[in-house]
Symmetry: C2
Subunit: 194 residues, 2 copies
């Protein structure tokens, strides 16, 4: 699944489907944070027109997914709620190289985003296959496809913008290894990356 080294603990789907409201609220915030990260990338790297154009489109798409998740809550008469921390994403964030070349930060921020898309895609796939709810099965199958596309978008951008500076496949393998070392600690909570 997009090169991830460790699959999610299969018990996670059971935990998730017993807490649909929590999962949907957390999912909505994942979409919002993806939109905010895309905006932040374009503000921080305005010298790359291709990045700016792609990120503004992506931010809009993530916000439309946010709306779709809100709609799912509404259909089920479930309230939206406050954001919870996402320790998995915070753990991943630590792997972004600080200082050094500007391009190293850009590469890592793109791979950080690709990594979250890849893991979200794997989790959405699990939900689409195993959740005991036909409507949500369908919903997560659609969104899984989007996440896979976004993963590709980020990897492709990293190669196009910075492939002449660093071997992106090699750095991606380092991200894969790092992610495998932290995902072991997750899979037991009712969050998308819980």
């Amino acid at each position: 699944m997009l090169g991830l080294k460790l699959p999610t603990d299969p018990r996670w789907v059971d935990i998730a489907q017993k807490n649909i409201q929590e999962i949907l609220i957390d999912h909505a915030y994942c979409e919002q944070k993806a939109a905010s990260h895309a905006i932040s990338l374009m503000v921080n790297f305005p010298e790359y027109p291709q990045l700016v154009e792609t990120m503004v489109k992506l931010a809009q798409e993530e916000l439309s997914h946010f709306e779709m998740v809100l709609q799912k809550l509404k259909e089920r008469n479930l309230n939206f709620g406050a954001e919870r921390k996402d320790p998995y994403v915070n753990d991943l964030y630590q792997f972004i190289r600080k200082g050094g070349r500007r391009e190293s930060v850009l590469i890592d921020r793109l791979l950080f985003a690709a990594m979250i898309e890849a893991r979200s895609c794997e989790r959405f796939k699990l939900l689409s296959e195993k959740i005991d709810d036909e409507d949500l099965k369908k919903f997560y199958r659609e969104l899984m496809i989007s996440e896979a596309k976004h993963y590709t978008t980020f990897i492709t951008l990293a190669k196009q913008l910075c492939g002449h500076i660093e071997n992106i496949d090699h750095r991606w393998q380092e991200w894969i290894e790092y992610e495998a070392s932290i995902i072991k600690n997750y899979g037991t909570k009712e969050f998308i990356h819980g």
Copy 2:
């Protein structure tokens, strides 16, 4: 013009039209910051469904305006560039009540946004009337209409969500007075709020 107390120094349009690239870049960031502020409002006040639904739509609209401004730069073979500080917005931000009731912060954040929309609307109107460029005249007339609608959206939301807690018209008058006290210091730079 939407109740603003002081009009913009008329010399501002001359300064602006001599620096189209600067104005367009700054304008793009105004749209981006409006989108980011809308996202921040919905994340900070998730208990108001009407606010969340309106802000996610608004954020998407602001991002589509960002794209329109990028397109104008492109058509003129002008590059996008780095963000500049917006001291006018920072000055306005100081007037948001800190601490106290949660609703007071919400009211002020909505009126802060309404104020920026109102002043931007006035500036866009000036550009649409006085700039020596037919294409940009038309562009700013369209965007002026959007800003006026957004101004109404924020005032209406403040009344609907918090009108039972505070007299919104009265608080808005305080914002108008405060804004008049700071706008005197502006009107001389090649920024939307410069």
